[in-house]
Symmetry: none
Subunit: 120 residues, 4 copies
């Protein structure tokens, strides 16, 4: 469920974060559903528990999960998370558009590429 790609340039903890975000946002992990404990996930992925711990801490800080002491970690309410995530995406989109326009691409041109993104 949480595939780690050691060829990926991003650090493992970021990959874990990104993966959980998607699972929660897409509803594969339901709101208030329990997610694996730090220890279990660490064993399952053969990863240092510190790394999982760090990912969970970050996910909690960003509001994607919440912790109940003695019980475990749980997914937050999706409804509230989606808008936030979309905002993050749009913010990244803005950076790219800005760079593209700076080197002479037009908004229409970029938009057309977006429509055809699977072939980029």
């Amino acid at each position: 469920m949480i595939p780690i790609d050691s060829n990926d340039a991003r650090p493992i903890y970021e990959q874990v974060i990104e993966r959980f975000k998607m699972l929660i946002l897409r509803g594969i992990i339901k709101s208030n559903e329990k997610i694996p404990s730090v220890r279990n996930l660490a064993v399952e992925l053969s990863i240092n528990p510190n790394t999982i711990q760090r990912a969970y801490a970050e996910l909690e800080k960003q509001g994607y999960i919440y912790t109940v002491k003695g019980k475990g970690n749980f997914a937050s309410d999706t409804a509230k998370l989606l808008p936030v995530y979309k905002g993050e995406i749009l913010s990244k989109l803005k950076v790219i558009c800005s760079a593209a326009v700076e080197v002479g691409m037009t908004e229409d041109e970029i938009a057309n590429h977006v429509r055809d993104w699977r072939n980029l």
Copy 2:
């Protein structure tokens, strides 16, 4: 001309690289124009010469500048660089589109945001 943002998460040498890429691609630094010497830029930005050296070495490897030993560094011919840079941009665009679609945004929706990117 080369603003360094110490709050920026990216390392200094990457900021320098990115900045020179834009200056060259946008024609603010003309083809074959001399760019500041390693030492001068280091002093101007209050940065260690090694860090500038590294940025310049990377820019040369990526083809944005060329080095003439004992003379200095010079901007490459823009015509050859633009297509490569646009390719990089489109590659990033693809990643974003993929993430956006995964959380339920449609291509049209994204494209519309692109047209309106200045207000994102």
Copy 3:
């Protein structure tokens, strides 16, 4: 395993690169085998860690090794590397043949020397 020749005109980091290329290509370092850490090799060779770091960075860029942050550096899959290396060799061979022919040697003559290269 990594002999450094201070009389060699080539910079140290290039000698390190060349040596690792051979060890990996010849299978003495196996695919996915861990190579010495930056620090350890630096101590062993009495060389500054930065110099090793630079050699490793270059080897990674050329695809001979890959880095797993916090874990170390590992040899890449040899099968993909050999063709590239052979291409580099043939490119150098071309330069030499060109020079030899220019001073009146024939292809056959050079080819014969190749067959007898151990006695050159």
Copy 4:
């Protein structure tokens, strides 16, 4: 007659040396023929006189030219130079053959590439 390629990775003085070697070995500059003065060549090529001076000094050390004080620099006797130059070439050939064999190429294979070197 002495084209300088600023894209060439080799330093200018080496390019000058290499070029004169070829001109003398191929008989384009005849034995005992006067070659341009340091000053004239420097002006003609828009190069620092120090650089030409260095090239000439090296050419003299290697026996390709000789200096007559107050008169200028002259090409040495070709007959004596050719064997030396061929020796240099064969020495480089040996290095390449050694590297090629180490990664599994056979002498026959290399020899065949030599016969076909123009298409490498």
